[in-house]
């Protein structure tokens, strides 16, 4: 038998792996499960430096770190110190019409300049369409703003 034919037999065997799927039910529920996952991720969002710490320290936990890891750790430490000594910048942008835009979504209320949170109804309308919209306090960022995202509504 030629090598080409042998590969054909092998390829037939590999096609068996197509059967290794979790079933249609899993895929039917996946979108809903994904929304739940996204909501959880947003609510439990870790600060950016947690990811850096994880990436840098994972090799130390798993075994002996390489020289590159040690060098990267030192560089990050220096960059981190420089960052905290520098001016703090907000992730939000204030627009002329009073809206606050945040990378997470449309912000419908802000307590940035007030003692209490002021919800701006006209921004709710803008966010996702009229009376049917429900406001949910979904994501409170460091500046006391509430972001609205109809997709992630509880």
């Amino acid at each position: 038998m030629s090598q080409k034919q042998d590969f054909t037999e092998l390829q037939k065997l590999l096609r068996l792996k197509k059967l290794e799927t979790p079933g249609q039910e899993y895929f039917e529920r996946f979108v809903d499960a994904f929304h739940t996952y996204q909501r959880r991720e947003i609510l439990q969002e870790e600060p950016w430096y947690a990811k850096v710490v994880e990436v840098l320290f994972e090799p130390w936990v798993a075994g002996v770190p390489r020289l590159a890891t040690v060098a990267a750790s030192a560089a990050c430490l220096i960059a981190g110190v420089a960052f905290f000594l520098g001016p703090i910048q907000s992730g939000t942008a204030h627009l002329a019409d009073g809206k606050v835009v945040h990378p997470r979504g449309i912000v419908v209320a802000s307590a940035q300049n007030n003692e209490s949170l002021q919800i701006q109804p006209e921004l709710i309308d803008t966010a996702a369409g009229g009376d049917a919209t429900e406001l949910r306090p979904l994501y409170v960022n460091g500046h006391g703003a509430v972001a609205y995202d109809s997709r992630l509504a509880f």
């Binding site: 038998m1 042998d6 590969f7 037999e9 092998l10 390829q11 065997l13 590999l14 096609r15 068996l16 792996k17 197509k18 059967l19 290794e20 799927t21 979790p22 079933g23 249609q24 899993y26 895929f27 996946f30 979108v31 499960a33 994904f34 996952y37 996204q38 991720e41 994972e58 090799p59 798993a62 075994g63 995202d149 109809s150 997709r151």
Partner: protein, 204 residues
């Protein structure tokens, strides 16, 4: 019909991937749900055949769609959405596999099989009404997956994309960011390795 090959009924006449991407960026979040439905089966397949573990695949698939959603505003359309999201899935899986490899030394014996590989989490594909055939199929499935896990992640990826998912060499090259020649040579090497370890199961 397997979920990997199943296409949603409106794919032929519905909006293109690029139209759905544009709609998502404009704020139509239902469009992203549609993109998820289109790609969930195929991406599940890629990740699963790389990790051989259902739970890890589920977690990684969520991460991939989340990462893609967050990165959509920066998606420039230089490649198709299809290529782009496949790349995210493969990169995430590679990162996961590297991490798992580093941690393998710290795994307990209960988590490893007799070859020192992570224990496989295989769905039962055997016919229930024929016990002998069922045993043989399970053995074959185990052997097949063990052999796949012994390949490097790059070789396993080309086998998955070409032999299991039926992608063309050119598409695989775009996804993996290499030349078609590299894809062909990786595929040839992987086939030889698999043939060596699965020889007794192949028809002579």
């Amino acid at each position: 019909m397997s979920a990997e090959t199943a296409l949603p009924p409106d794919l032929e006449n519905g909006p293109t991937d690029e139209e759905l991407v544009a709609a998502t960026v404009r704020g139509d979040l239902g469009a992203y749900d549609e993109l998820i439905r289109r790609f969930q089966g195929r991406l599940y397949g890629v990740i699963y055949h790389l990790t051989s573990n259902h739970e890890d695949t589920n977690d990684l698939l969520m991460e991939v769609f989340d990462k893609a959603y967050r990165s959509l505003p920066t998606f420039r359309g230089q490649s198709s959405f299809y290529t782009w999201i496949y790349r995210i899935a493969i990169n995430r899986s590679f990162n996961f596999l590297d991490k798992r490899k580093r941690r393998q030394g710290a795994m307990s014996l209960n988590e490893l099989d007799e070859d020192g590989l992570p224990k496989l989490d295989l769905p039962d594909i055997s016919p229930q009404n024929n016990p002998n055939k069922s045993i043989m199929l399970n053995e074959l499935q185990n052997k097949l997956n063990e052999s796949m896990l012994k390949l490097s992640k790059e070789h396993r990826t080309v086998v998955t994309l070409f032999d299991i998912q039926g992608l063309a060499h050119a598409e695989i090259a775009k996804i993996m960011g290499c030349t078609e020649g590299t894809v062909r040579s990786r595929l040839h090497y992987a086939h030889k390795q698999l043939q060596k370890s699965l020889g007794i199961y192949l028809k002579k």
